[in-house]
Symmetry: C2
Subunit: 443 residues, 2 copies
C-alpha cells in the first residue's frame, strides 16, 4: 500500500500504478461498452483488491471491478477529494467520552460498490474516515451492537440496547449516541425513554436519510450534531438528532416520545408532533426551546426498566375494518390494544361488542388518533362517550407509535390491570403535552 | 309565535312575554344555584317550548329548561345577534341548481341544548336558517341520505351515495355538495373519485370541525364555499372543501384521492398530501392551482362504477407486529392487503413468509408508507427489493387510505388478478402524483 494510492491493493493497485495515477487524479476507466471518468478516491483498509473507486462529476461514487478487459487512463491531476485521506486522527485525551452504539441503518452503512445497493457495515475506523471531525469533539468508543435494518428491530433489540446503554452510562461516559436506521428510530427512541429513567447524561439516537457515500448525505452532519449533544448538552434526556430543514444548517433534537418520521426520503423527515423540539443545534450553538427538561447530572443514578410485553397490537381503524381482527388478537392472549381511531378518537359502533369483550378479558384498550396532530377528546360526540363507557382509555395527544411502546412497557412492569392503568395515565417521560405547540403544522 | 320572539312557544314564550323580552335583548336567567346572562337568540320552528336559548359572553349558546323555579329578567336591549332572523329567503329562479346530500356529521348537526352534546339532525330549513347566504348562490335541493357519524360510514354507504349523486347529475344539476362528517370524509372522497368517473360537474364534499352553534364554527364558511364551487367552478372533479387556514379567509379544494385529515380539531385540519390543492376559494374568487384538471362540461356523461370489495384490509406495520394477523386475513378469504410500511416501503423480514403465502393465494398486496409524505421506493434497500421479488406492489406516493379504497374498488371491477394489477398500476383519478409538490410540509 502507498500513501498516494491509499487503501488500494492487489489487481487494482497494480493497474493504477501502471498509469502513475494518484488519489485525487482524474482518471478514465473503460471496460466493455462503458467508460467512466472521475476523481480517484481512497479506499478503506478493509477494501478488496479488485475495485477502483471514482467520484463521478454528479457527485456519486462508483466502484469498477478491474478485469483483464479494463483500461485505465490518467486524464490529469484533478481536484483533490474533499474528505481526509490522512490516517485516523489522534484522540485528544482531555475531551469528554462518548459511546457510539451502532445498530445498523443508513448512517452505519456504505454503498456496496459491487451491487450499487446500500449495505449495513460500519466499524469505528469507517466512522472516523467518514467524519474525522468527531475526534475533535469527543473521545469516541464505538461498538457495533447489531447490523440490522431498522424495520427488523423488535422489542427484544430494545431490551439489549437499553441494557448496553445503562452499562456505558454506569461507566461514566458523558453521553451516548445510538446509530439507528430511520424507519423505526422513533419507536426505539420511545422505548428507551421508558426503559431508561432518571438518566444522568443525554442519549442521542441518530440516523441518516442518505448514505455517507452520497453527495447529499446527512450522515456526517447528523453524527457530528449527535456527538456534540451527547458530549456537552445541558440536558439528560432521550432525543433523536436529525436535520431540522433540508439544509445542513441546523440539527433538531426531538424528544424520544414525541418524534415521528413524516417523510420517506427528505433529510428533514423527522418532526416533533404537537410540541417543539427540545433543542436546536445551529452553528455549534445549542439552543434549548424549553426550560422544562431534566438537567445533566453525572451523579444521578439511572433506573433501568428494560422490559416490554409483546402481546400488544396497534390497530388502525378504517371504514370496513373487520372487528374480527381484534377478536383474533384477544384469542391470541393479547393484553393491550392501541386503536388508531379517526378524528377526536372514534371507531365504528360495529366494533363496540368486541371492545366490550376486550375490556371484560382485562385487555388494556387505548385510543389515539390517525390524524397525528391534535389530541383525542372523547367527550364531544356520542361515539367517544360510548367508547369511554365501554372502558376505552383516551391518550390525549400521545402518538399512536409511542402509545404502542408505552403499553408494551407498562404491561411488562406490572401484572395488575389497575396498576397498569395508573401507569398508563401517568405522564412518564413527556409522552403527553399539556399544551399543544405546533412546530410544523401551520403554513 | 311572534316575530319579536321568533321560534319560541309554550312555556318559554310565556315567561319571555311576561318580562317583555325580545330576541336580541340581554336577559338574565336564574334557576337553582345557576345564573346565566346573555343575548336571547331565536329558535327554529321545530324547537320545543321548554327552553330559552341565550348566547353567552364567551360566544357559546346554551339552552335553559324553563321550570317553575326559573326566573327571567330583562337586563337591557342588547346587541342584535349577527345571524338573520328573517323568514326563509326566497329562492331565485335564475341561479344554478345545486343538490346538497346530507350524510351526517358536524356540519349537519346542531348542539342539543338539553344534553350539551352534538347530535346529527339537519333538514333543508335548518340549513337556510344557519346559512341564509346559500339562497343567493344557488337554487338548493337538500336531501338527507343518512344521519350517521362518519366513523360508521362503510363501503355500502359509499355505494348508495355514489348512485344518488349519479342520479342527481343525470337530472342536470350544476353541482353536488355532500355534507359529511370529517372523520372519514377523506375515505369517502376517494371512494367517489373511483366510483364516479367522467363527471360533468363538480362533486364537493364538505364538513365542519365545529358545530354551527359554536362561535368558532367553520360550518357556514365551508358550506358557502362548497355551494359556490358546486355551482360555478370550472372543474368537474371530486373535491373536499375545508378551511385553508384557521381563519375564515380561504377555502381549500382538495382532490378526493390526495386529502387527509391531519388534525383532530383545527379548522385547517385537512391537507393535500404530496401535492397542492386543486384550487383555493378566497374572497369569492376561485383560483386554480393547476391547469391539469377535468373541465366542467354538462354534456359529458358520468360513468358509474359504484362497487367495492370489502375483503381488503389496511395493516399498519410496527415493531413486534404479529404476522399472524395477515394470515388471519388470508384465512378469512381477503383478496387485498395494503401494508402501511415504514420509510420507503418496508416491513420486517419476519413477514416475508406470510406475504409469499398471500401472493401465492392471489391476494393483492400493496405497499404505502406510514410516513405519509413522500413516496415509497423499494429499489433502494435490500428489504424493498426482497418485497418486490415476493410480489408486493409499490404504490408511489398514494396515501394508504386512498390505496385501501382503490384496491376495494379495483377488486370489485374484475375477478382477474392480472386485470386488477393493471388497474392498480393505472393512475385512475390523480391518486398518484408524478411530481411531488409540498403544500404544508416545509416550515
Amino acid at each position: 500500500m502507498t500513501e498516494k494510492l491509499l487503501g488500494y491493493k492487489g489487481k487494482a493497485l497494480h493497474f493504477l500504478k501502471e498509469v502513475e495515477a494518484e488519489v485525487g487524479d482524474t482518471i478514465r476507466v473503460s471496460k466493455g461498452k462503458g467508460t467512466y471518468e472521475g476523481v480517484l478516491i481512497p479506499r478503506s483498509e478493509f477494501s478488496d483488491g479488485n475495485h477502483v473507486v471514482i467520484k463521478l462529476k454528479n457527485g456519486y461514487n462508483i466502484g469498477i471491478l478491474v478485469t483483464q478487459e479494463t483500461k485505465i487512463e490518467r486524464v490529469g491531476a484533478g481536484q483533490k477529494p474533499t474528505f481526509s485521506t490522512s490516517p485516523l486522527p489522534k484522540q485528544q485525551e482531555e475531551l469528554p467520552e462518548v459511546t457510539i452504539l451502532s445498530t445498523g441503518g443508513t448512517i452505519a452503512s456504505r454503498v456496496d460498490y459491487r451491487t450499487g445497493g446500500v449495505r449495513p457495515a460500519l466499524n469505528a475506523n469507517d466512522l472516523y474516515s467518514i467524519v474525522p471531525e468527531l475526534s475533535e469533539i469527543a473521545t469516541i468508543k464505538a461498538e457495533i451492537l447489531y447490523t440490522v435494518f431498522s424495520e427488523n428491530i423488535t422489542p427484544k433489540h430494545w431490551i439489549k440496547l437499553a441494557k448496553e446503554i445503562a452499562k456505558n452510562i454506569k461507566e461514566g461516559v458523558a453521553g451516548i449516541v445510538v446509530a439507528h436506521g430511520t424507519d423505526t428510530i422513533g419507536y426505539t427512541a420511545a422505548a428507551l425513554s421508558f426503559a431508561l429513567q432518571n438518566i444522568p447524561v443525554p442519549i442521542v439516537l441518530v440516523g441518516s436519510q442518505r448514505s455517507a457515500d452520497r453527495p447529499s448525505s446527512d450522515a456526517a452532519t447528523n453524527l457530528i450534531g449527535a456527538v456534540t449533544v451527547a458530549s456537552k448538552a445541558p440536558f439528560a434526556e432521550v432525543v433523536v438528532a436529525m436535520h431540522r430543514t433540508t439544509s445542513d444548517k441546523a440539527i433538531a433534537l426531538h424528544r424520544g416520545t414525541k418524534v415521528r418520521k413524516c417523510h420517506t426520503s427528505r433529510r428533514d423527515a423527522f418532526k416533533s408532533i404537537n410540541t417543539l423540539p427540545l433543542a436546536i443545534l445551529e452553528d455549534g450553538e445549542l439552543r434549548m426551546l424549553t426550560q422544562d427538561y431534566q438537567r445533566r447530572n453525572p451523579k444521578r443514578e439511572v433506573i433501568v426498566k428494560p422490559s416490554f410485553n409483546e402481546k400488544v397490537a396497534l390497530v388502525k381503524f378504517h371504514p370496513g375494518l373487520n372487528r374480527g381482527v381484534i377478536d383474533w388478537y384477544l384469542d391470541q392472549g393479547y393484553e393491550g390494544i392501541v386503536l388508531e381511531g379517526t378524528g377526536l378518537g372514534h371507531v365504528s359502533s360495529q366494533c363496540f361488542a368486541t371492545l366490550r369483550r376486550a375490556i371484560a378479558e382485562n385487555c388494556l384498550v387505548a385510543m389515539t388518533s390517525q390524524c397525528i396532530w391534535g389530541r383525542v377528546n372523547m367527550n364531544v360526540y356520542d361515539t367517544g362517550r360510548d367508547l369511554i363507557k365501554i372502558g376505552v382509555i383516551p391518550l390525549g395527544d400521545m402518538l399512536s407509535e409511542t402509545a404502542l411502546v408505552k403499553i408494551m412497557w407498562v404491561l411488562a412492569q406490572t401484572k395488575s390491570v389497575d396498576e397498569a392503568k395508573k401507569l398508563l395515565a401517568k405522564n412518564v417521560t413527556h409522552e403527553v403535552s399539556d399544551r399543544t405547540v405546533y412546530q410544523d403544522y401551520e403554513r
